[in-house]
Every structure is written in C-alpha cells, then in structure tokens.
Amino acid sequence: MTLRTVLRNEWRLLAADPALRVVLGVFAVLFVYALANGMAWAGFQERTVEAARTGNAERVEALEQELADIANGGRPSSPFRDPRAPNVLGGARGARTAVLEPGPLTALAVGQSDLLPYYYDVSIYTNEATFQQNGEVENPLNLMVGRFDLAFVTVYLLPLLVLALSYNVLSEEREQGTLALTLSQPVSARDVVLAKLAFRAVLVVGLAAAVSLLGILATGGFGSPGRVLLWCGTVTVYALFWFALAAWVNGLRRSSAWNATALVGAWLVLVVVLPAAVNFAAGLLHPLPSRVEMITAQREASNDAVNQRSELLARYLEDHPEMAGGVVAEEPGLGALAWAATDAVNSRLEEVTAVHDARRADQLALVRRYRFLSPALLAQEVLVDAAGTGDARFARFQSQVRAFADEWRQFFVPAILASERMDAGVLPDVPVFSFVDEGPADVAGRAAVPLLVLGGLVVLVSAGAAARLGRVRGAD
C-alpha cells in the first residue's frame, strides 16, 4: 500500500460522503457570494474615481475658460471669485482632486476602503482638518458590521472548513477499527495523516485560490503579480496552520468528539475572542482622546487669528522667507493678511494633531505587538495589505497628499503675499498630483514579519504533530 492508494481511497471516501459534499458546496457558495460582493464594490470605486476625475477636469476647464474670457476683456463672474486672484485660483475654485486608485485586489478584500477617504480636493486651504473628512457615503451600520468579502471568508470561515474536513482523520480510523489494519501495511500513521491532510489541503486551498484568481482575473488584478502571489501565499499558509493544528490534535489519540471540541475551541479563542480582547486591551491601556478638542482648538485659533492678522503676517514672513521671495507688497493686501491668519490656524491644528497622533501611535503599537497572539489577526492584516486596501496604503496616500498640498501652497502663497494677479499662463506650471504607489518590495517588507511568524507557527505545530503521530502504533 502506497501513499497513492491512500490518496485514491480518500478521494473515493470524500466523494461518497454526502455531508462533505454539502459542506464543500456551502463553502463554494460562500466564496462566490463574497467574490460577487467584492467585485461590486471594486466596480463602484472605479466609477467613483472616474466621476471624481471628471469633476476635477470640468472644474479646471471652467476656470481656464473664465481666465481666457477675462484676458479677452471679459469680466469675472464675481469680484470675490475672480480667478486671477491667487487665493481663488489656488483655493477651492481651483482645487485639484488627488485620487487614490482602488487597491489592485480590492475585489478580494474591501479592507479600509469603505471607511477612509480615497480622494481629496487639494487647495491652499488644505490642512489637518481636511484629513478628518468622511470617506464614502456609507450606512454606519454597514461600516460597523463589515463586509462579506473573500478576506472575511478566508480568515473566519475557512478554518472551519479545514477543521470539518480533518478533525477526525486519524481518530475515525481508530473508532472504526481500521487503524490497525491500515498500519499493518508498510506505511506509518504519520504518512497516512500527511497524505490525508495533503489531499484535503489541495482541495481547500485549491478552492480558495481558484475563486481568488477568478476574481483577480475579472478585475484586472494581475497587473500586480507580487500582490497576487502574496495573497495566495497567505491563504495557503493560513490554511496550513489549521491543518497542522488538526494533525496535532489527531496525534493526541483522543476521540473524534474530543478532537472536534478542542479544535472548535481553538478556533473560537484564536479567531473570535483574542482579536476582540486585543482591541479591548488597547482601548483600556491607551484610551484614545476624541478629536473633539481639535474643533475647539481650530475655533480658538481662528478667533485669535482674525484679531491679530498684521502681527501674524510679520511673524509668518520671518518664519517663511522662502514664501515671500523678497517680494512683499508695500502695503500688505487683504489676501496676505488673510493668509497669515489661515496659516496660524493651520499651525495650531498641526500642534493638536501631533499630540493626538502620538497617543494614537501608543495604541497602535500595542495592537501591533499583540496581533502575534492570533494567527487570524496576522492573516487578516497581510491579506488586506496585499489587496491594497490596508492602512499602510491609505497612510501613504495621505502623506503624499500632504506633500502635494505643501507644493501647491509654495506655488500660490508667494503671489498672495505679493498681491499679484495670475493668468491662464500659470496653469501649465501648476503642480500636479500623481500617486506613487507602493512597490512589491514595500508590501512584501511589511508582510515579512507576520508571514514569517505565521509560517513559523505552521512549522512548529507540524513538528509537534509529527512527533506525536510518530508515536502512534496500530495497537493503541
């Protein structure tokens, strides 16, 4: 009797078992439902990004048109919205929309993309408060519960499929009395379990990978092969962890019922209880101050700023000689005074944000440290990250938007301070935002540690299982 025989017999057994067919069928349906949801969301985001771009283009075109009309002797539509004024051309009227393309594998993991903003209108007035704006219009109830996507099915439900298929690979043989017979052949218990689990692993991982690849194919995600590889690798390693755990529990030589209870208990603790407990501990040990004080600070700063604009302007010019570029109008214009006030408010906001972010960093550090307690947390993090819908990519986008806003100000503020007027001639030189997406190395770098730990767990549990199973003889 060889491993091939074991595999062939396993296939026959599985094919003959109606319960397993039902389980596999149910999971196939869950996978497809999850994929359909993800694809619907990815499509929605594509259309939204397109609409945001079109809106931006229309706005710029209207502005160009008005500037051209004025150059030909026309009058501005309103003296307060005269596009020749740099604080109008660089302000809300001339704002440029900075867009984050949906993550390459958004269809597989919605991640944070339903919560965090993925486009901002950038103008000279972009400040820290801008980054507090809401993301997509979404029912808070739906945000709270989270989406039924492939990442969810993989992290939460896939382990249950693994356990259902493998909790009794060895114990059942013993309970049916076939173990002694099997082991009388030139094959060890370890090999039998390995063959059986390998067979099931191919089935489970194959199902998960097939659905994932189907989704990737349908949404053009193959443009980032590195992400696809990372996704499939993570799904495989995560599934293997649960197979290894099942092998280990089978090696304890208990009854099938005991195995089932122990494995479901492990799933509960690792997938449901620990992640929630980690978040609970984070909230308990490092409570996050609310953003409420940001509003108060902003208000107070702008109240003060209005009353002392001249002083603020003097201080601003001292702090930012590069902005004035040696050209300041003799009599500071209203625009220059207003800008000084705006800048004072922005600085105050940055102070408040810095304090808040420092405390937030403490909380995140704790969450990051304790995520190693739960393979589910690790897998979820890598999967969402691989999909390009994780926190890191949004943080990258935000920091690039910040830099772009700075560049934008560098372009317009000197003209404001000098009370200059602008015309259509400056438009080609206006800064342009283009998102520098993360490369495969960035994503892989972040995924390395969690994946190594997850892989290490698989090796560790497998070794334990192998040692246990090595001691199984047909007689016991």
Binding site: L115, L141, L157, A260, V292, M294, R371, L377
Partner: protein, 469 residues
C-alpha cells in the same frame, strides 16, 4: 419533580469544571466590559458637554458684527452620549461626533472615531453587547447540547423516564437548571449595569431605567430562545457530538455569517449614492433648483417686496431686503437638503430593515437592532440628533436673518451685539422616548418573539418525541 430535575441539572452544570471556567471567563469579560464602557462613556460625555459649552461661549463672545457674519461663523453641535450607551456603543464609532451649523449649508457629521483605528480594530472591541450577543449564547450551547443527548448516551434517560416524570416536566426542569446556572453570571452583570445607571451617566436619555429594563428583557428572550433551541437539538440529535456540531453551526451562522451577509445584501437591494454623486446632485440642485423647488430670484423678490410695501426704492422699505432675501434662500436650501439628506437617511433605514428581516435566520440581528435602539446608539437615533441639530441651525439662521431684516434698512451698515447672540437659546436635545424607539423596532420585537416562542415549542415537541435510547 421539575424542581428535582432543575436542581440536578443546576448542580451538574455548576460542578462541571469546563462550565466553571467558561462561565468565569464570560462573566469576567462581561463585568470588565460593562465597567470599562461606563467609565469611557462618562468621560466622553463630559468631554462632549465641555466642548458644547465652549462652542456656546464662542458663539456668545463673538463681539459686534453683522448678524449674517455671525450666521457664517455658526456654532458646532456635539452629539451627546446617551445614558445607556455604555452597554452597547452601536454605530457610534462609525458616525461623526460633531457638526458645524453655519449659514446656507447643512453639513455632514465629522470625526468618526473609527477613522483613527486600524483595520484590525474593526474586528470589534469587546463591549458588553458583544459578550451578550455572541459569547453568552455559546455558553448556553455548551450548557444544553448534552442535556438530553448526553443522558441518552449514558443510558440515564431511560431510568429518568421510568420514574414516571412527564416529558414536559423534564424539558422545563432542564431549562430551569440551565437558566439557574446562567443566572449566576447574568444577575451580577445586571446588578452592575443597573448600579451604573443609577449612579449616573451624564448623557441625556428619556427614561433610562425603563430602557434598561426592556433591554434586559430583550437579552433574556434571546438567551431563552437559545436554551430552547439547545434543548430541542439535544433531544433530536442521535449523539451529544452531533448536537454540539449542529448548535455550533447555528452559532456561526447567527454571529458571523448572517450579519455580514446582511450588509452586502442590503447594499444590493438599496444602493446608496457615492459621496461624489451626492455632493454633485446637492450642488446642482442648490444652483438651479429642481422640480417645484425653485431658487428664489433676487430681482423678482425685490420687485415683489417693493410692490407689497408700495414703495419705489429698496432704501425706502421699512425692512432690510437683504435679510428677507437671505431667509428666502435659506428656506429654498432647506427644502433641497430635506430632499437629499432625507432620501439618504431613508435608504439607510431601508437597509436597516433588510438586516432586521434577516433576523428570521439569525436572532442576533433582531437582538442587535433592539439593543442599539434601547441604548440609543443606532442609525435612527443618530438621525434623530442630526435632525434636531439641523432644526436648531434653521431656527438660528432665521433669527439672524429676521434681526437683520427688522432692525436695519436696505444698504445700511448694521451690526448686532452680544444681546442678540445670547437671545439664541442653547441647543437642547431631548432623546427620543422609549415608545418612539420600540415603535421603530416592531419588526425586530416580532421576530425575536417568534424565535422565543418557536424555540420553546420546538423544544417541547422534540423532548416529547425524543428517543429513549
């Protein structure tokens, strides 16, 4: 006889080491999450109340200015935490906490706490509601799966029935025994919760104690349904193991699959516009009007006013034309906002109904809806506050515009002072009554009632028909 069965079941359970560990764990989590939730909610509410007071102070101390400038300056409104929100934070982390009330515009609520968290934290924190909705039913499953199947496997079921006990009595006795064991855990939690309510939560709430009592009743009904379901499956299953597997399957569908499936289903059935679309529609309608809501024409408005007062020039009007026109366009804007925000909120509520309807497959959805409703942390009560804040904004703007219209003449430079700012009453928010909440939640109440009755009937039937060996 019921008493004996119940006492035996209770003693069995309480002596079981596994139960003791699980119960101690769940009980500790429940108490800690209640306590932590209470402290947090209190702090948050104090912070919000302080911020609201500061905002009022800013409003009152803005000095001499034109009322319309004051209207542009506006005021911030902060959403208060209701008294019971420490039990169930509901959608609060996903709704904004404050809104700027200014001239011409209805703004969105900003500063969603969840935006400060990571993807991992969206798995959900361990709140008292989470423990009650997910972990306690699991405990109930552990308590009930062997109640009859186990006795049958050990052969004691035959002996038990040989004593002449009725099967109904057996079922009731078993249920009471399990309930007694659960009470060891739930009574202290209820006492702590009630104490926290009585000691005081600073937030506004209509009848917090009544809400709390109904909340306790809702959770009891939920656990009762699970006890019934557990006994029914235990009586039906051939082995304790089968019973456990089936019940765990129910638990997974109830707590994990159904809630998420409802999210995407609700979005398929009732799609919401994208933020870009929503803003674009609003902007367009504000600029050009829509259907029978037409933007007031400045010139025509002026003409009409002149005709009404029978004067030739705007300067001769006994009122300031600008103030009246501002109010006229404010009212035009309000109708546009009502139309757009109203439709959006209605879509959210219809999506909520999909969640509620799916409760026929998963009682958690009914309980969650009721729990958030009673705690005052559901979407509907967010809307309730948003509506109150918007109504306040409109009153405030009207007051500013009419002051401008009545106390100055067209073309005149006019400023008002602190007396006018102080005349605007502070924002007073009255949380909705218990009747309002329950009236919104008839569907969930009904479905939960059906689950309780159905599980009870099923248990009775299954125990009646249970095989002895």
């Amino acid at each position: 006889m019921i008493k004996h069965i119940a006492r035996k079941e209770f003693t069995d359970v309480v002596r079981d080491g596994r139960f003791r560990w699980c119960a101690a764990l769940v009980g500790a989590l429940l108490l800690v999450s209640l306590g932590h939730g209470w402290v947090q909610a209190r702090q948050a509410q104090e912070e919000l109340a302080a911020a609201q007071a500061t905002a009022r102070d800013h409003w009152e101390s803005q000095g001499e200015k034109n009322p319309h400038s004051a209207a542009h300056y506006g005021i911030y409104a902060f959403k208060p935490r209701l008294a019971l929100s420490f039990v169930d934070e509901g959608v609060d982390p996903y709704t904004g906490t404050s809104v700027w009330l200014e001239a011409h515009r209805q703004n969105d609520f900003l500063m969603r706490p969840a935006q400060d968290a990571t993807a991992a934290q969206r798995v959900g924190a361990l709140t008292a509601a989470q423990v009650l909705q997910n972990l306690v039913p699991l405990l109930v499953i552990l308590l009930t799966f062997g109640a009859l199947a186990g006795e049958r496997e050990q052969g004691t079921l035959r002996q038990l029935l040989a004593t002449g006990i009725g099967r109904r009595e057996l079922a009731v006795g078993k249920a009471l025994g399990v309930a007694g064991a659960l009470a060891l855990l739930l009574v202290p939690a209820a006492v702590v919760g009630a104490a926290a309510l009585v000691v005081g939560s600073t937030g506004p709430a209509a009848s917090p104690l009544a809400r709390g009592t109904v909340l306790a009743g809702v959770y009891l009904a939920y656990f009762g349904a699970f006890v019934g379901l557990g006994l029914a499956v235990s009586a039906w299953a051939r082995s304790a193991r089968t019973a456990l597997v089936v019940l765990l399957g129910v638990w997974v569908v109830n707590g994990l699959v159904a809630p998420r499936a409802a999210v995407d289903l609700s979005k398929w059935i009732h799609p919401t516009p994208s933020a870009v679309e929503f803003a674009h529609t609003l902007e367009q309608e504000m600029a050009a009007g829509v259907d029978d809501i037409q933007r007031p024409d400045r010139a025509a408005f002026g003409e009409r006013l002149l005709a009404e007062y029978g004067v030739e020039r705007a300067e001769d009007l006994p009122v300031n034309e600008v103030g009246l026109y501002l109010q006229e366009s404010e009212e035009f804007g309000n109708r546009i906002f009502d139309r757009n925000y109203g439709a959006l909120w209605d879509t959210f509520e219809r999506q909520g109904v999909v969640h509620e309807a799916l409760a026929v497959a998963a009682p958690l959805l009914a309980v969650r809806t009721l729990s958030m409703g009673l705690a005052g942390t559901d979407v509907e009560q967010h809307r309730h506050f948003a509506t109150a804040a918007e109504a306040y904004r409109r009153d405030m703007m009207r007051q500013m515009n009419l002051d401008l219209a009545e106390n100055s003449r067209t073309g005149e430079l006019y400023t008002a002072g602190p007396e006018l700012w102080a005349e605007v009453p502070p924002l007073q928010y009255d949380a909705p009554t218990l009747g309002w909440v329950l009236g919104n939640r008839v569907l969930s109440l009904l479905v939960l009632g059906l689950w309780l009755a159905g599980a009870g009937l099923l248990a009775a039937r299954r125990v009646q028909r249970a095989e002895v060996a």
